[in-house]
Amino acid sequence: MNEIIEIPLERFRDEVLKLRTEKQMDFLESLTGMDWGESLGVIYHLESTVTGEKMVIKTSTNNRENPELPTVSDIWKAAELNEREVYDFYGIRFINHPDMRRLYLRNDWVGYPMRKDDDPMDERNPLRMNNEETIDSTTELKLNSDGTLEDQENIIFDDREYVINIGPQHPATHGVLRFRVSLEGETIKKLDANCGYIHRGIEKMCESLTYPQTLALTDRLDYLGAHQNRHALCMCIEKAMGVEVSERVQYIRTIMDELQRIDSHLLFYSCLCMDLGALTAFFYGFRDREKILDIFEETCGGRLTMNYNTIGGVQWDLHPNFIRRVKEFIPYMRGIIHEYHEVFTGNIIAHQRLKGVGVLSREDAISFGATGGTGRASGWACDVRKRIPYGVYDKVDFKEIIYTEGDCFARYMVRMDEIMESLCIIEQLIDNIPEGSYQEKMKPIIRVPEGSYYAAVEGSRGEFGVFIESHGEKNPYRVHFRSTGLPLVSVVDTISRGSKIADLIAIGGTLDYVVPDIDR
């Protein structure tokens, strides 16, 4: 566990700038708002993509009435949306952040739900059935050169702009995401993403649940990465408690994670193709996806939300048929993937819709923290399985798929190649699952020792991290999930500018975000 370095508020900007330039901390992994009772603050998880060094810093303010912290959104673009999230939950205003609107909750929401002294269930926030009014301007807390603070109004869309609304109910946004797009002819000038239509308050709920109870909610965050999400949370709790799980459990978890990744990438393929009008491809993807779901169902009992990992092991031992069915699946999938490429990859329409569209540069990918297939398509080797091996990834031999173009086609190809790579990983493991217990003996009431812990796994669409701060109770003091989707949504504005409105569908499809994971 990395030591948290506290930086006082006065020196914060200078110190952080020094970290960015001298220590080359260019990747803001996670940004977590905190309420420590007397003070409010933020914890930053930093990593350098050059040296691989990791660091955790924090800063706090004692002013609970008007908490103000300096922004880091000009240093790391990933902070743009994350700081809005902190403002939304804790009411901390960031000085010089250009856009201080709420991210998830409605504009007329009263109070800040994640504060410990705030009860969001009370009568200040009834169910409002009037339509939410969209505001075209935002406020910025500007620091003048003479050191005084002043409220400044920033215009998002002015009256002369032609703004169209996409979502929240739109089949191509993959859920309930809402974009407001300013157009010039057919070309996108600016885009504003509105989140929160499926904000379920999972992090707040976790604070009142016991550790085993919190596990159930992770499957429902990113339902196409259910195993991986739960793996991350279990790993974080196990790390905190110093529990070593058996070799068998490590193997089972790794195989399940990889099966889940194939499942997710098949669904990605199906949905992308369907969005672009290739309906046959949708049937191909779902046909093979059902085979994986059958394997899951036999062992875990569920098709989508499996609830399989537990603290210290897994829920049940593998089904007797598991190994045979996985072994049947691997050659089947290898033999049939050419159909996918024949029907879609080589298609001239697909090439024209995907190639050269929505180019994300490597610098932007790192600055936004867009990990997973998106980052790797831009040439950033961001795979957690290689960076910080967990499970048994250090025992298997696999390639990290990297493309350098950064366009939609590269993002598509990364995922198609990863299906093959995942098959390769499973093949190496499936014959060597060691004997052993599938569940460590745990105490009936699980208490995590005081401290803060962070663990990350490579989810289906990027780095999924879990941050837990524990005060030694049976429920966590603060749980923060590093969403895989939020950075992906924050890059949409940058990469879609200048492209056509129809390309937004291809861009959204290849970024492959899952909305409940963004909103949490």
Binding site: Y104, L105, R106, P113, P120, M121, N125, L127, R128, M129, N130, N131, E132, P168, Q169, H170, P171, G175, V176, G196, Y197, I198, H199, R200, G201, I202, K204, M205, S208, A216, L217, R220, Y223, L224, L267, S270, C271, F282, F283, F286, R287, R289, E290, L293, R303, L304, T305, V515, P516
Partner: protein, 193 residues
């Protein structure tokens, strides 16, 4: 002319649970009576309507993925006439509320429902839409869509299996089959000023 028990080709009437509420509706409708001609037309139109229920493509979370599996080859909802998923509420017959409805989404859902043309049906799919499910205690989750729109069929599950979807949708078909499409003029009522 009397309303009859709804028949579904593949499953016998007795094998459905919750037949009592259907029988109650049938009884209420029969109390008014129906003319022979209009009643026969009703039967014909309801047969057509119940076998071409077009759903609105509406999904907020996990249940939406199962809804997609329903459309794919293995479960193939085209067998029952549900396959024409419409992206516009104006063309849809029913809305399947797949997934959690939050406080911010509630007015949007209400608006979608209001935009649909009559006759319209609502199916609440999954624990979240039925009652709030695992997120019941959250500050931002609506505990059941029946608080804002009338629901015809509830399908529990987290997410429900595709077979459960079918069972729920067949219940909806049965409900459609016993309706009076031409409205009910009460023939048996005595005109006693």
């Amino acid at each position: 002319m009397e309303m009859k028990k709804p028949k579904i080709k593949s499953i016998p009437y007795e094998e459905f649970s919750d037949n009592e509420s259907l029988e109650k509706i049938i009884k209420e409708l029969n109390e008014g009576g129906a003319s022979v001609f209009v009643g026969a037309m009703d039967d014909l139109i309801n047969w057509g309507r119940s076998n071409s229920l077009w759903p609105l493509t509406f999904a907020t979370s996990c249940c939406g993925i199962e809804f997609m599996s329903l459309g794919a080859a293995r479960y193939d909802m085209a067998r029952f006439g549900f396959e024409v998923a419409r992206a516009s509420p104006r063309q849809a017959d029913m809305i399947m509320v797949c997934g959690t409805i939050t406080n911010k989404m509630a007015p949007v859902l209400k608006r979608l429902y209001d935009q649909m043309a009559d006759p319209k049906y609502v199916v609440a799919v999954g624990g979240c839409a039925v009652s709030g499910g695992p997120f019941k205690k959250s500050y931002h989750v609506l505990n059941g869509v029946d608080k804002i729109i009338p629901v015809d069929v509830f399908i529990p599950g987290c997410p429900p299996r595709p077979e459960a979807f079918y069972y729920g949708l067949m219940q909806l078909q049965r409900k459609v089959k016993i309706e009076k499409f031409f409205g009910g003029v009460n023939k048996k009522e005595k005109r006693d000023e």
